[in-house]
Amino acid sequence: SQQGEEDPQALSIQEGENATMNCSYKTSINNLQWYRQNSGRGLVHLILIRSNEREKHSGRLRVTLDTSKKSSSLLITASRAADTASYFCATKKEAAGNKLTFGGGTRVLVKP
């Protein structure tokens, strides 16, 4: 079963706009990671946020984590056509080695 569930399932925005997607999970985690997948580059790691962190930034990406609500959000600011991809959250449970459990993904289309 999927640990993380992304919302929305699909998102269409204009270039320059911000894109926000959410991820909810069910059990306690060690960290939560966001990955991007497009046909050109496969699945690529974007950012990792640990369970004791609340917010993290990387370039145009901003990730938040609320462990009390078991949810995370990924914000892409000033989107570009190249950001068109599917975005997945993946959770690493406590004491689970490096096993990641992926959600179903959010498909983002950035229109030029």
């Binding site: 699945l43 790691h45 990792l48 640990r50 080695g97 992926f102 179903g104």
Partner: protein
């Protein structure tokens, strides 16, 4: 640094046939993973190796799927016999150490179509 290599990139077979996928992880990465990604879904872990030992194969359908990593480097994933529902992209990933908060590096995947 070379990435994770997989072959073949595409494979079309008929149901009940056998198929094998190959993965070469990033040099020095001790941990190797095989994922199944059905169209429209996220990747699902099938099996995780630490060197040549299996760490987790709880979601591997062992009646038809098998995987090995004999020398702790390359790995093969086999399906025998294939079913229609096995149509998916099979992703291989590697990471440098089990238990640490390390990212996983993914290969391009093998797209399997079972007719």
């Amino acid at each position: 640094e070379a990435g994770v290599a997989q072959s073949p990139r595409y494979k079309i077979i008929e149901k009940r046939q056998s198929v094998a996928f190959w993965c070469n992880p990033i040099s020095g990465h001790a941990t190797l993973y095989w994922y199944q990604q059905i169209l429209g879904q996220g990747p699902k872990l099938l099996i995780q190796f630490q060197n040549n030992g299996v760490v987790d194969d709880s979601q591997l359908p062992k009646d038809r799927f098998s995987a090995e990593r004999l020398k702790g480097v390359d790995s093969t994933l086999k399906i025998q016999p294939a079913k229609l529902e096995d149509s998916a992209v099979y992703l291989c990933a590697s990471s440098s150490h089990r238990g640490l908060k390390n990212e996983q590096f993914f290969g391009p995947g093998t797209r399997l179509t079972v007719l």
